[in-house]
Symmetry: C2
Subunit: 409 residues, 2 copies
C-alpha cells in the first residue's frame, strides 16, 4: 500500500476487513480489533482501537504488567488511572505460573482480574536479552530460564500458541530483536529470519485463532500484530515494513529500537519506517520511552507505546512531574510539605507531601513503591490524554515535548 | 477506685473529667479523650472513644503503622477498611525521619496524611528489645540505633516530649517492659521503676500537654495512658494497677504480656489485672494477638489492642480467613479459582482468586504484600465489628472465638 495513503481521509479498517472486504465495510462477525483514526495533526493521529475487552483511545501508553501485575498497584487503582490496555510479558508468564495454568483459569484477563484490553509480547525480546543463555536456529530459540536454569524452546509456533493460551487481545509475531550495533549483513540476515518467522507466526495464528480461552463467541477474537525490524538501516526498515505488510497483520510494531542507539537515530528510524506502514492500521513502537519521547513519537504518527520506565523508575524513586524529574530520595525534600507535582490530580499528589514520599523511600517502605508507581503512571496517562486532546484540536503534539524539555533539570 | 465499680451502670467519664468533676459531667473545653461504655456482656464492653481526630468504636484492633505507614497500604484504603485508629512507633519515627521533622510538618497526622486517630507507644518496648544495644539506669535507657549504631537516650521526659512532638491523640507513659521469664524480685524492681517513670511521664506531660503540633484549639488535647507491669505475678499486677491508677491517666494499658509466656498465662494475667482497672476508662492490651486472641481478650473486658501479626503475617503469605489460616504459598492454591475467603467482602476477596494471590506471592511481587495486608486487616476489622455487634446485643463475644477455633487447621 503506498505511503501517500497516510495523508488520506479518515478510514475505518482492520487487517481482517482489509483482506475480506473493502475498507469501511466492517465484517464485525469475524473482527478481532478495529482501528478508527478520528483526527490528524500533521503525521500524528488520534484514534480508537476496539478490542474484545474494550476500547482503547490512541495514542496510548501501555503500562507493563510483567507477570500479571503492574508492580505494586492493585487493578482497581489501574482502572481509576484510566488505563485501558496493559502489556504482559509472555516469557515471564510462560515460566511462572505457566501458560497452561493461566489458560485453565480462563486466560490472563480472568487470572489477573483485568477486564480491559491486554497486549502480550512474543517473548522474543526477553529471550534475546538472555545473551549467554540462548541459542538461535532457523527453527527457533533454545534458552535457559533465568529463574532455575531449566531449558526451554520458543519458536514462532509455540510463541503464538503461548499467546493464544494467555488470551491477550493483541498478540505479537515472534521476531528476532537484532542487537545494536550490527553490521548490514547481520541486519539483513536477521531481518530475513524475522520475516520467515512472521509468516510462520501468521500461519499458526490463522489455524488456531479461535482457541483463546475466552473466544467462545465468534465475534471476539485475538488480533496478531507483525513486527518490523532492520536495525538502524532506513532501507532495510522500508523493506521490512513492506514485506511484513505483505504477510498481513492487524497492526504493525516497530521493534529493535531503544536498544542503546542515540535518540536522534531512533527518531530517524521511526520516521523512515512509519511512512511504509498502512495509514489505517495501528502502529506500535515497542519499548519507549521517556515522557518527552512518547510525545515525540505520537507526533510522528505512532499509536501505541510501552515501556517499563515509569514503573521501574518509580521503584527507584525517580518521579516525573510537570516541573521536571524529581529524585525523591534527595535530602532537599525531607522537609518539603508541598505535593509531588502541583499540577497533578492523582491520588498521590492530592494527598501526600514530598516530605512523606521522601521519608517512605528513605525508610525502604513498600508504600513508597506503590505511591511512586501510581504517580508516574498517572503522569504518563495524563501526558497521553493531553497529546490526544491536542491532536483532536488539529494541533501538533510537540508543544508538550517542549514543555517537558524546558522543565527538565 | 474499687474493682466492684466495674459492674456498675454505664457511665460517661475520662481521666480529666474524673479528676475535675463528677463522672457524667463532661468538661469538654479541656477534654482530650472521652470514653463512653455503651453496652456490656459479661466482662466485655462495647464503647466509643472520642479523640481529637475522630471517634473510635471499641473494642478496637489498632493496625501498626511503624514508621508512618501500614506497610504497603495507601491511607485511603485504610480508611475504606474502616480503620479508625492507627498505632505509630515512637522509636522508629524518632530515628527516621526524626521527631522534629514531623513536628515541623504539623505532626504525624498531617505528615502521613491520616486524619483519624493515632496512638503512639513510648518507644520503651522497642528499646528494650534491642538487648545488647541498651543500658538501663534510674534516669532512662541509653541505646544504639538498629539503623546506624548511633547512641541515643530515652527517659520518661524525652519519650513524652517525642510523643508530644509527634502529636498522636493517645500517647503512652515510658515503662520498662520486663523480660520473660523473670524472678519475683526482678519483677518488683522493674515494676517499681515503671511506677517512678509513670510519675515522671505524667509530670512532664502535665507541664507540656498543650504543645502538640495541632493543639492550637484548647479543647483538642492529647491523652496520656499509663502502663501496668508486674510480669506473670497476679499480686504484682494488682499492685501495679492500683498504684498506676493513683498516678492517674486517661486510660490504662497492660504491658509486658505476649512476650513468650503460654497463652493461658496471658489470659490469667489479663483477668487478674482488668478487675483492678477503672471500669469507665479505656483498657489497652498491648501487642496482641491472633484473631482468636483478640476475640478472647475483648471478652475479658479489653477495649483496645494492637499487633503486627495481621500485617507481618500477610507479608509472609499467612492469611486469616473465616475458614481458618491459609498459607498462600502452598502449591495446592496454584489452580484454585475461588476467592481467598468466600465469606469476606474485602476488595481482595471480591476481585482476586487464590490462584492469583498464590502466583503473586510465588513471584515475589510487591502486590502480594499489598493485597495480603489489605485482606488480613479487613479480617481483623470484620472480627472486631462482629465482636462489638455481639456485645451490643448483650451476648458474650466468645462464640466467635469458637468459630475461629473450629475453623483452625
Amino acid at each position: 500500500m503506498p505511503a501517500e495513503l497516510s495523508a488520506g481521509p479518515l478510514r475505518l479498517c482492520s487487517e481482517q476487513a482489509q483482506r475480506l472486504s473493502a475498507c469501511g465495510s466492517v465484517q464485525s462477525s469475524i473482527m478481532s480489533t478495529q482501528f478508527l483514526v478520528e483526527a490528524r495533526a500533521g503525521a500524528a493521529r488520534a484514534g480508537r482501537l476496539s478490542t474484545p475487552h474494550g476500547e482503547v483511545e490512541t495514542p496510548v501508553f501501555m503500562p507493563v504488567g510483567t507477570v500479571g501485575s503492574v508492580k505494586g498497584v492493585p487493578q482497581d487503582l489501574l482502572e481509576e488511572l484510566g488505563i485501558e490496555i496493559l502489556l504482559g510479558n509472555t516469557y515471564h508468564l510462560y515460566l511462572r505460573p505457566g501458560v497452561e495454568q493461566i489458560r485453565k483459569l480462563g486466560g490472563l484477563h480472568r487470572f489477573m482480574s483485568w477486564p480491559r484490553a491486554i497486549l502480550t509480547d512474543s517473548g522474543g525480546f526477553q529471550v534475546f536479552s538472555l545473551n549467554n543463555l540462548r541459542r538461535i536456529s532457523e527453527d527457533g530459540v533454545t534458552f535457559r530460564s533465568h529463574l532455575d536454569g531449566s531449558s526451554h524452546f520458543f519458536s514462532p509456533e509455540n510463541a503464538i500458541e503461548a499467546q493464544i493460551g494467555l488470551g491477550a487481545d493483541i498478540i505479537m509475531a515472534f521476531d528476532e530483536c537484532t542487537e545494536y550495533p550490527a553490521e548490514r549483513e547481520r541486519l539483513r540476515t536477521s531481518m530475513e529470519l524475522t520475516l520467515r518467522w512472521a509468516e510462520r507466526s501468521k500461519r499458526y495464528f490463522e489455524e488456531h485463532k479461535s482457541e483463546a480461552p475466552w473466544s467462545d463467541e465468534p465475534d471476539r477474537m485475538q488480533a496478531l500484530f507483525g513486527i518490523v525490524q532492520g536495525g538502524m538501516d532506513p532501507a532495510l526498515r522500508k523493506e521490512s515494513a513492506e514485506r511484513t505488510r505483505e504477510v498481513g497483520f492487524s497492526g504493525y510494531a516497530i521493534g529493535g529500537l531503544s536498544v542503546g542507539e542515540p535518540r536522534h537515530v531512533t527518531r530517524e528510524i521511526v520516521e523512515a519506517t512509519v511512512e511504509y506502514l498502512p495509514p489505517d492500521q495501528p502502529r506500535y513502537l515497542m519499548g519507549v520511552g521517556t515522557p518527552e519521547e512518547i510525545v515525540e513519537y505520537a507526533n510522528l504518527g505512532i499509536d501505541m507505546m510501552d515501556c517499563v520506565l515509569p514503573t521501574r523508575a518509580a521503584r527507584h524513586g525517580l518521579l516525573f512531574t510537570s516541573e521536571g524529574r524529581i529524585s525523591i530520595k534527595q535530602a532537599q525534600y525531607a522537609g518539603d510539605p508541598g505535593p509531588l507535582d502541583p499540577n497533578c490530580g492523582c491520588r498521590v499528589c492530592r494527598r501526600y507531601s514530598r516530605a512523606y514520599l521522601r521519608h517512605l523511600y528513605a525508610s525502604n517502605e513498600i508504600l513508597a513503591q506503590v505511591l511512586n508507581t501510581i504517580h508516574n503512571l498517572s503522569f504518563y496517562l495524563d501526558t497521553m490524554r493531553a497529546v490526544r486532546h491536542s491532536i483532536s484540536l488539529g494541533r501538533g503534539a510537540r508543544f508538550l515535548s517542549e514543555v517537558w524539555s524546558r522543565a527538565k533539570p
